[in-house]
Symmetry: C2
Subunit: 504 residues, 2 copies
């Protein structure tokens, strides 16, 4: 029904809907058959983009006000056309997927292309994601999906093998592990330009934590140049156009509270392939309140990763790691950055952190042939203890425009603090991942980088009544108390008497 | 994380997003932690409503611009508060549903309550709907869902048994059937205040067609009073607050191209219960290109309706009807209104229309005890033939502020017309429901009420080359030709030689 329309004069909208949108005068909208809130296609200078159509009498007839997001996607754009969007060309494939039918490589290519072009709305994307929970996509299909996600974005190529380590996450305190792994690996000469995400549901993503110490946003060209110099980087992947479909999926998954395994594997591997990663270590933490709660599920996820790696030409090892309680003691960007920096400087630190970082870095070193199979762990520890990893980290800080001389105590923590103390003598039986995550977020993490939780105890510690269990940091009194409420309500730390039960 | 905020000054937004939205200044939004495009809750004068939050520098700090939709829902509202919305209280039930777990009555009550309050976004509603395609909800759960949908809206009570007839649709030309059924039934004294919908994917809903002849938008109070006077009404249900969750579901289903059977049954029965209907005839047309394509599916849908009716205290009969080709000859609001009026005036008309209307009206009369079982059809035909139905229809037109003296030829049809002619001698073997629907919509129906298609033939007619097959009506030349293209491309009418195959 779309009839060609004359060029609209393009202006920038003084409104932000968090997405690409076009405002047009209600009269133009009526003539073109574009209802308010419907999707439309804007065509401008050879590019086209799906947008939400909004009506506003404030926009003159003949004008089109585009949001910043739309203008960024369309580039230079002065005169545009706009058409109603009924159903995208790939809609037939979309409907077959909802019915659990198999799609082929071309279907996925079309579908993902249309999603990236903005031709699907959030309701439709949600339906696509939910369908994966019910009708699992096959391993062949997953390859098509991943390839389509990579092919619809940019690829950064290096001309030499690229290494990486990626944790599926879900355990608080985990974001700092990469701040050790990357310099350890790079200090041995392997190329590890790690792109990481910001926190979605956790108190800190690796990019959030690294940002406490250095800049994390760079262009693909800068990343290419910097990585070849420093051999290691820890940057934010979100500003790059790497597998952009993934960003769309994650935004919607977040609102649904779901993370279907096939889509998670697709997300991770598509981002890695876009960075030309061919040697990859995957970390699957398993434990109460982690993303994966038992070894059976972890094993099945590991198989899925490995089968995909085989099909996609990635040399991969998967580690299932202990995830019953937070990693190290700090949770939240500033606290985690501090703990990582202390550990790098001293060449030693909390067992749960050092063990994990050396194990994962060791696996990467083994993939690179720098260490023999089984010899990676000790070589990695050696890099940490010798100060080689710290020297490399300073290089990375320097190239990422951070201060290589920064000291742990320079990192500012939330000015408002409150400490939770043991209500009785006993043994720490549980430190609850979910409660710690919720409390750190309630305190303001990750947006308030100085907010978070510092544990004073770990599982198995013996405590006396009144001993400090954890300290909450925040910039705001209100948030501090909200976090304390969460900690108490969820019993974040459980102390049990040494004698659990007594018979007469 | 929501902290109380001072009263915002409320103004009306000069923007329409097709939904409830609140625009606020980016600084206020940052202070309150409300990202652009996220959902927020507006509280005003004791009422609260979930809205989409938009940022605009044009809104002064301390002000909140609400869209018309939001203002209608909130009522009188001068000072409001706004809070970020993380996950609604019913989110746990929502997630269990996505995993295919059973929900209880209270879960559905909470969930539907939160959906109606605007606390769920379209992505989440899509997930809820899609989950029904995979994990069918049980018959017990369906009762909870329907009750929750009724309880979250208004109910119009009459103090006497309320009758209705409802077609699940999917066959072009069907919207006019109710224009015969309602006066036939009402002419026998039964109360049949039919609320109907506008077209979603068809060329005409019953409300669209009736609107050609009379007003269809009234308040619940008006409907109550008018129905008791005229005994029958044909009004639009959409402006009433009857099972408002249904309107939300339908909006999203439309974009997904899905219509899960359980949700369809819930939608229909919730709307009926909100009108206090206790005696109901359901029409399931079956045929190529109809909503239900085979008798097996129709039978299973009939069982679902009947089992729900039993649980909900509705006395119901279900008719599976012939749906292989359009009903009657006219398709589109004006053409169908004309055909219905002609039939009422003459007391006779196209066989497919008269047969269907008398059969369905007859079943209603049997439910009401006005006709003995098996005797409804002839009693209904008698009402039509005798002119009693037409006299009742004039009463209904009068009370709905239409012109009771209107003649069929007074109804304006699209000024632009084009006729498709038989390319050869032969027999009409197929009139394609889907093609006729698409073509009538391409011509402009239902928004352009004068647009549509008049068939000159039905299946089985013998034609000579050059005989007219159908005429397309539209207000616009461009649409007329687009409709013709659709008709030709989809082979809307197929003529076969009388001799289909010839052996030597």
């Amino acid at each position: 029904m779309a009839s060609r329309n004359g060029g609209f004069h393009v202006e920038e909208a003084d409104i932000d809907i968090g997405d690409s949108a076009a405002l047009l005068n209600p009269k133009d909208a009526e003539n073109l058959g574009i209802p308010a809130g419907s999707r439309a296609v804007v065509v401008c200078g050879g590019r086209s983009l799906g947008v939400v159509a909004l009506h506003s009498t404030r926009v003159e007839p003949g004008s089109l006000a585009l949001t910043r997001q739309a203008l960024e996607r369309l580039g230079e754009c002065r005169a545009a056309e706009i058409y109603p969007l009924e159903f995208p060309a790939s809609f037939d494939a979309f409907e077959r997927r909802l019915e659990g039918k198999r799609l082929d490589a071309n279907d996925y290519k079309q579908l993902i292309g249309d999603i990236v072009a903005g031709l699907y709305d959030d309701a439709q994307i949600a339906a696509f994601l939910v369908s994966q929970m019910h009708y699992r996509i096959t391993e062949d299909e997953l390859v098509y999906l991943i390839r389509a996600m990579v092919d619809t974005g940019d690829v950064v190529a290096f001309g030499e093998p690229v290494y990486d380590e990626h944790s599926i996450g879900g355990v608080p305190g985990n974001s700092k592990v990469a701040l050790l792994v990357v310099p350890i690996v790079a200090s041995r000469g392997l190329l590890i330009p790690k792109t990481s995400s910001r926190a979605i549901t956790s108190p800190a993503g690796t990019a959030d934590t690294m940002e406490v110490l250095a800049r994390v946003t760079f262009t693909p060209e800068e990343i290419h140049e910097m990585a070849l110099k420093a051999r290691g980087l820890i940057v934010w992947g979100g500003a790059l156009n790497l597998a952009p479909a993934d960003d769309i999926f994650i935004r919607v998954e977040r609102r649904l509270g779901i993370d279907p395994p096939t889509q998670m594997v697709a997300s991770i591997l598509a981002k890695k392939l876009a960075m030309s990663v061919s040697r990859l270590v995957i970390d699957i933490p398993v434990g109460r309140g982690a993303k994966v709660e038992n070894e059976k599920d972890a094993t099945s996820m590991a198989s899925l990763f490995l089968s995909q790696a085989g099909r996609l030409g990635i040399n991969m090892r998967v580690a299932i790691t202990y995830g019953n309680e937070p990693i190290g003691y700090g949770v939240g960007p500033a606290l985690e950055a501090r703990e990582a920096l202390e550990t790098l400087i001293k060449g030693d630190g909390p067992l749960s952190l050092v063990e994990k970082a050396c194990s994962l870095a060791g696996l990467v070193l083994e993939l690179g042939g720098v260490a023999p199979r089984g010899g990676g762990y000790s070589l990695a520890c050696e890099s940490l203890r010798s100060g080689a990893a710290y020297r490399k980290f300073r290089e990375i800080l320097d190239i990422q425009q951070g201060d290589p001389d920064i000291k742990p105590e320079d990192i500012r923590l939330g000015r408002k603090q409150i400490t939770l103390r043991a209500p009785r003598d006993g043994v720490v039986s549980t430190i609850d991942n979910v409660a710690i995550t919720l409390a750190a977020r309630a305190a303001g993490a990750p947006d308030d980088k100085s907010a978070g939780i510092r544990l004073h105890v770990k599982t198995g510690y013996r405590v006396k009544k009144g001993d400090p269990l954890l300290t909450i940091y925040s910039s705001s009194d209100a948030r501090l108390h909200e976090a304390l409420r969460v900690v108490e309500e969820h019993e974040a730390v459980i102390i049990e008497g040494v004698v659990v039960k007594l018979f007469p």
